[in-house]
Amino acid sequence: MKRVLAVALGILTAIGGFVDIGDIVANAEAGARFGMAHAWVLLVGVIGICAYAEMSGRVAAISGRPVFDLVRERLGPRVALANLAGSLLVTVLTLGAELGGVGLALQLATSVDYLLWVPVVAVVLWVALWRAKFSVLENVFGLTGLTLVVFLVAIFRLGPDTGELWQQATHPAPPAGEDWGTYWFFAVALFASAMTPYEVFFFSSGAVEERWGRKDLLTARVNVFLGFPLGGLLAFALMATSAIVFHPLQTSVDSLSQTAMPVAMALGRLGLAAAILGFFAATFGAAMETGLSAGYTVAQYFGWAWGKLRRPREAARFHTVVMVSILAGVGVLMTTIDPIQLTEYTLVFSAVALPLTYLPILVVANDRDYLGERVNGRLANGVGVVFLVVVVLAAVAAIPLMLVTRMGGG
């Protein structure tokens, strides 16, 4: 019974934890401008993150070591350094975007400018990561993030023309007034939002912290293959509500207040409050994960003691990196860059850095020295290679598309 509860809790946490500021922004923007024409990208992204999260979870459970640690050992310090540089930059920028997202959510609830909230949020985040119990934080924010389910309910309450939505989803093409360049720019951003690198580092390092072993493989797989797709369903709901309300009005979405508007229309004040709570929990939970991921990657590369479960005194350098990353994230926001714009840039850079994260995972997941008979099978390798090609294509296309479309402006 206890095990079933643990699995259920893991799935629920994975659902709530899947959505972050990148998913919120990218899906709402894509839905408003292109209707459901990007629904397939969401599906592809969810399959990709499931494939690679399963690999990294398996690597951690069998070898007892996190992916980044093995990448350095298996591919050498030079390749691992490239991996570290790319991933760390993207993770710290994502952390900044998440902190901005928390600030924006609090601004929606209080009308106090988000920049005034950012330092407060940063201190609370640091204290939480320093003092609070890992499992409590993960469960509280993962479960609270589930309030985003109001977006799913809103789809039905808004009474959409389902035939039209289905038509858009099954005939993916830019609508009148948009071009293919912008369409593909949004496709790359959406793909990157589903496959953010920090997710796999956090997943594998968390597995080591919680001392997963062979017996936990099933739990890990259930979490990944149920939790992430259901989390993807929340992202789908964000896209759909935007497509229902804003696409017919030919209006873009570029703020969190607009993203929440369809829920207010469908469910009134209570629904709106739940949506804002969901934004807060999703972004704060992701800020925790990105903050820890920054510490994990650096500490694992340099071979320092690391872990949220270790006392700060025992892993001083790990905790220092976490703290410096939070300060760096705050510093980025204090330039007064719009957090939504920061998120868009982060998604583009994330797309560029994707191969640096996923190629090493695929290599390590095929190494018998670490995994024995638990190396990738044909299916995992087939899916892994296909997605690696997609990831490389997205990485190559991201910057040119950003320049040509003026950051999706058309």
């Binding site: 601004q107 007034g177 209006t251 570029d254 207040s257 607009q258 508007m261 207010a264 009134g268 004040r269």
Partner: protein, 152 residues
């Protein structure tokens, strides 16, 4: 083989980066031609249209009591920020010809109207005042949509 005491690949890499940067600098700093001006103007019109439509949506939600005060204040603020950004974009570049100047004038008038109606909606203390501002935003939205459609 070495050039200036450096290996050839390193020199090629440095020259490529310099050329790329010079090209980028030229692209960003050269004056806009009529086509580029029109592209910027359309982006501005679309941003203003988004702000007007969003403002009207917020107003309607307020009239139906579906949002709370803090949310409405923030949402109006977001829409106003969008308008201000749009105005900044069109105020910068010099119109390259008379047609572009006429387009700018029409656009600026609509931006001004949208800003005024959005401000009125945010400041409205009574339902009739809010209704009037929402109607105004609807009207500006329609005019902006027509302008965008004409230029496509």
């Amino acid at each position: 083989m070495r050039i200036f005491g450096r290996p050839v690949p390193a020199v090629i890499a440095v020259v490529s980066v310099v050329l790329l940067w010079a090209g980028f600098a030229y692209q960003v700093s050269r004056p806009a031609d009529a086509r580029e001006y029109l592209r910027t103007a359309m982006q501005v019109a679309e941003s203003a249209h988004d702000a007007a439509v969003t403002g009207a949506l917020i107003g309607r939600r307020q009239l139906e009591d579906q949002v709370f005060g803090a949310f409405a204040v923030t949402a109006y603020g977001d829409a106003a920020k969008g308008l201000a950004g749009a105005a900044g974009k069109i105020a910068g570049p010099v119109p390259p010809d008379a047609a572009s100047a006429r387009l700018r004038d029409r656009l600026l008038a609509l931006l001004q109207a949208a800003t005024r109606e959005l401000g009125d909606a945010a400041a409205a203390r009574t339902d009739p005042a809010l209704r009037a501002a929402v109607a105004g935003l609807d009207a500006v939205g329609v005019r902006l949509a027509a302008l965008i459609e004409r230029q496509r």
